[in-house]
């Protein structure tokens, strides 16, 4: 604020000659505070206005209504045999749906939580013990782990193996070895019927 006032002051001579009005004194008292008020009010109004106008530019990059509308996916799981898995695409990401064998469930539940990097009970990761549903994105740097296909390597712990940097996940898709910091994420899902699951 001091700059424009200073500039006005410096060029007062022009104002005087230009408008034919003698300006002999620096604006003081009522006049000065009135000008200050106008400066502050204009500045504050413009700042708030600019900030408000910025919001649409930011928000337009957030997911649009049509993107959010297709954010859930229903999957028929009746064809998956025990010991096999299926990959579906949900919100543009792979989701692994595995029908586990009793041995795999047994192995997942027998693990001592103290041995885990990201301790979680298998009971908390699978609503029904037979079905393990996880987002198939390695928590290290976002590659897709192997282990869905029968021919895939499943890692040292019989779950998933990420070929990018060698993270091993167990039969509950918990990280056991390698650089990944967390277990594979379990998405929100619910069983609409014994053979139909809704993800998201």
């Amino acid at each position: 604020m001091s700059l424009p006032v200073a500039v006005l002051g410096r060029n007062r001579a022009f104002v005087g000659s230009g408008l034919g009005v003698p300006m002999t004194a620096e604006p003081k008292g009522d006049d000065g505070s009135r000008r200050d008020f106008l400066y502050i009010a204009t500045g504050a109004f413009s700042t708030v206005g600019a900030a408000v106008a910025t919001w649409p530019f930011i928000d337009q990059m957030n997911p649009a209504a049509d993107v959010l509308a297709v954010a859930s996916l229903e999957v028929d799981i009746s064809d998956i045999q025990p010991g096999h898995a299926l990959t579906v695409k949900w919100r543009g990401k792979p989701v692994f749906i595995r029908r586990r064998t009793p041995d795999e469930i047994q192995a997942a539940r027998a693990v001592n939580l103290g041995d885990l990097r990201d301790p979680q009970r298998d009971e908390d990761r699978a609503q029904k013990p037979e079905w393990l549903i996880v987002v198939g994105i390695c928590t290290h740097l976002g590659c897709i782990p192997l282990g869905v296909k029968d021919s895939d390597p499943k890692g040292d712990f019989g779950g998933y193996f990420c070929p990018c940097h060698g993270s091993h996940y167990d039969s509950s898709a918990r990280v056991r070895k390698g650089p990944a910091p967390r277990n594979l994420e379990v998405p929100g899902y619910e069983f609409l019927s014994p053979t139909l699951v809704k993800i998201g």
């Binding site: 424009p4 408008l19 034919g20 009005v21 003698p22 300006m23």
Partner: protein
């Protein structure tokens, strides 16, 4: 005003210390800005509100580029996807409706501002020596704007988009001998289609930045001989000018505030007022809308195109309507710039403005009955104004006396204003009151 006297107009160079001084020593950007739009750029002290429209045009362009960048990020330039993607922008993308309405109405207001800017030049003779090149740069930008706006209008791929593109590209088919080959080349096929759509999308984006670049050259040329003013006389000394900052930065900002109010009223309360409802119907290559009209800002040119009952002739008339403007600095033979001192030209100016408005009205009406005759008469007058009246009136007219300088004219006007005011107020204002009310002039 010759360049050598300019150094004495202002002495407001910026001296910087510290980090800013370090930068300034290597890249004198702060003084460059200060010399361009700061305390060291001398502006005629008498410029009126019509001198706001240059900066307004710049702001309008910035708004178009900012909203356009967002729209481009959500738009799909394919024949199958374009219309749906625009509807998606309107319905699903967060604030997408705001960006599209701001972009479409922003284009309209951009043209409104530029047309006022152009007619300001015609009234005050700003195109005359030594500002002919400045005028040309403005006209080139206008032609680029028309091109860009037309291409942008095609992008939503509605009925008006599609048939507008068909009609306008067919103009090139009027070219003798090579017309048909030219159309094949332009369309990249046998009709308006996706190839053309993608090309328009690419050019629409590019041309906005070409206009922005030319705007900088335009300002460069402006600053060589400074702004014209309502008196049309040159700056003669420091008493004629005020520094651009703060006097005209504040005035421009005030104008911008008014502009934003109009803009907001359009975008929020009448976003489709200036558009054609038919463009909300997806493009159909098998059916032409009953009434094809361009956006309002192209209607006068459209009327000139239709006034000539010959395919090639219409196209030539349309092109000449724009090209004749380039010759105006030489067609206008008067040495006096401002219409204020030209009693006859002043009247011709208003008649010409009315003529252009009539052309706009005819351009928006169906090409039948009396509209054909009115359109043809108005088209003839358009060219008569420039090619006959302008050269003759400049020679025959005797201008009223010009003031000695901007400063003396301003002082006299102030005296007249005061003389008018005093008897009504009844009390002579004290010195301090005079100072504060003086700011209101």
């Amino acid at each position: 005003m010759a360049g050598h006297d300019d150094e004495h107009l202002l002495h407001n160079e910026i001296k910087l210390l510290g980090v800013l001084g370090w930068v300034e020593y290597r890249l004198p950007i702060f003084n460059w800005i200060n010399n361009a739009v700061g305390t060291n750029y001398p502006t005629p002290k008498n410029v009126n509100y019509f001198w706001n429209f240059g900066s307004l045009a710049g702001i309008a362009l910035v708004i178009q580029i900012l909203t356009g960048i967002v729209l481009a990020a959500h738009y799909v330039p394919t024949a199958d996807g374009a219309f749906a993607s625009v509807e998606r922008i309107m319905r699903d993308v967060n604030y997408g409706w705001l960006f599209r309405y701001a972009h479409a109405n922003g284009a309209s207001l951009f043209f409104a501002v530029v047309y006022i800017h152009l007619f300001r030049n015609l009234y005050y003779g700003s195109y005359k020596y030594p500002r002919e090149l400045l005028w040309w740069l403005g006209l080139i930008m206008l032609i680029l704007m028309i091109t860009t706006a037309f291409m942008g209008y095609v992008l939503p791929w509605g009925q008006m988009s599609y048939w507008g593109a068909t009609v306008i590209t067919n103009l090139f088919g009027a070219m003798p001998i090579i017309g048909d080959e030219l159309l094949l080349w332009l369309w990249g096929g046998f009709t308006v289609g996706e190839v053309l759509l993608r090309g328009f999308y690419s050019l629409h984006y590019l041309l906005a930045f070409v206009i922005a670049g030319l705007a900088i050259v335009h300002i460069w040329a402006l600053h060589q001989h400074r702004s014209n003013n309502p008196l049309g006389i040159d700056i003669k000394g420091p008493q004629d000018i005020l520094p651009f900052h703060p006097y005209f930065t504040v005035k421009d900002l005030f104008g911008f505030g008014i502009y934003l109010i109009v803009f907001a009223l359009l975008v929020f309360y009448a976003p489709n007022m200036l558009g054609e409802p038919d463009n909300y119907i997806p493009a159909d290559p098998l059916q032409t809308p009953a009434h094809i009209v361009p956006e309002w800002y192209l209607l006068p040119f459209y009327a000139i195109l239709r006034a000539v009952p010959d395919k090639l002739g219409g196209v030539i008339a349309l092109a000449l309507a724009l090209l004749v403007l380039f010759a105006v600095p030489w067609l206008d033979t008067s040495k006096v710039r401002s219409a204020r001192f030209r009693p006859i030209y002043k009247q011709l100016f208003w008649i010409f403005l009315a003529d252009v408005l009539i052309l706009g009205w005819v351009g928006g009406s169906p090409p039948e009955g009396m509209f054909i005759t009115i359109g043809q008469l108005a088209t003839v007058y358009y060219f008569v104004h420039f090619l006959v009246l302008l050269p003759i009136v400049g020679k025959l007219e005797s201008p009223t006396p010009l003031p000695d300088s901007i400063a003396t004219a301003v002082l006299e006007e102030n005296k007249r204003k005061k003389a008018r005011k005093l008897p009504q107020v009844g009390v002579a204002p004290s010195a301090s009151h005079g100072a504060s009310s003086g700011g209101g002039h």
